[in-house]
Symmetry: C3
Subunit: 112 residues, 3 copies
């Protein structure tokens, strides 16, 4: 199992969720975040407001997926979140050792 | 040291915190999140409002604990967060390589 | 690549960001969190309001950095976030297996 963390533009959340559903990924957790990127002086717009590189509104997605779905998920995120402009976001992958479904104590990949 | 990430129903936060305190876990970080689960079409209620499977309000708990407390913590979370209904949540375990207490530079499990 | 997670006092965010920039760390994600620490009965002040140990407002920073910057980043955070009083916060380190820049599919440390 791996954890995929993706920081994306808020306007792309629906497209990314749909793209993930198409590759079979349903379970995910969504957090509101602010981002600090490179490109000082650069500005991004969000809901009509202009933000400098500092503390841009971002959405952070977290999903734990079985190993065989990782690359499909990454492709789904990249292709749905990309605009080609700076600020499109980042994806990070890391290892998860165990997953537990609280309702029934199910463990491992079948608990995802 | 391991990181325990738990996504739970917001109404269960107090019960889960109490159960964790009882097994000796005090330090934890709490984030407001939204969740996307399985069971499309299913709805959950939160503060009198009905949510479909999409973007349900959830609480995410993060706690780093010494290895010997992991299973006790998981049991405490499962038994205090469970209602038996779908949507009860998930727990994920992963490895933490180092912990540092900012106040005094203490490192390792004694910094938890 | 490693992930640095730091839970700090909200009033220290600007100082910590500046200290990280000075050691060359630009990319980071910032989350609003609440913390539960040790020292029951102890209170902390935030924006004129008094909080007990329970659910103190905290800022959580997440940044993925190349291995050779980890200790510099930790030192930058510790020295800029420390007040010497309880509640200064924690830093956790863990391994990241891959990073992807969404704009151009760049991978690895050069995507950070
Ligand atoms: N190294 C990092 N660690 C944690 N979060 C990061 C990191 N780099 C970027 N982020 C998060 O991703 C968001 C978007 O980053 P961004 O896409 O601007 O990255 P970038 O490296 O500047 O790429 P680009 O050149 O395409 O803009 C940031 O606002 C921040 O929230
Ligand atoms: N694979 C996952 N990765 C990250 N977060 C997840 C994952 N699966 C679930 N979650 C989070 O946990 C919350 C609760 O999930 P939920 O308990 O509905 O899981 P489930 O697999 O549908 O189990 P159940 O059948 O008991 O409902 C979701 O709203 C989401 O925030
Ligand atoms: N083990 C932990 N896991 C996850 N988050 C933690 C942990 N310990 C502390 N935190 C987070 O860090 C915040 C600050 O913790 P704090 O600095 O009070 O730690 P402490 O161990 O009590 O140290 P001190 O004695 O200096 O107060 C907490 O409010 C919580 O958000
Ligand atoms: Mg950028
Ligand atoms: Mg469900
Ligand atoms: Mg404390």
């Amino acid at each position: 199992m791996q954890k995929i963390e993706a920081v994306i533009q808020p306007s792309k959340l629906d497209a990314v969720k749909d793209a993930l559903l198409e590759v079979g990924i349903e379970g995910m957790t969504i957090l509101e975040a602010r981002g600090h990127g490179r490109q000082k002086g650069h500005t991004e717009f969000y809901r009509g407001r202009e933000y400098t590189v500092d503390l841009l509104p971002k959405i952070k997605l977290e999903m734990v997926v079985p190993d065989e779905l990782v690359e499909k998920a990454v492709q789904a995120i990249v292709s749905s979140a990309r605009t080609g402009k700076i600020g499109d976001g980042k994806i990070f992958l890391s290892k998860i050792d165990e997953a537990i479904r609280i309702r029934n104590d199910e463990r491992g990949a079948s608990a995802l």
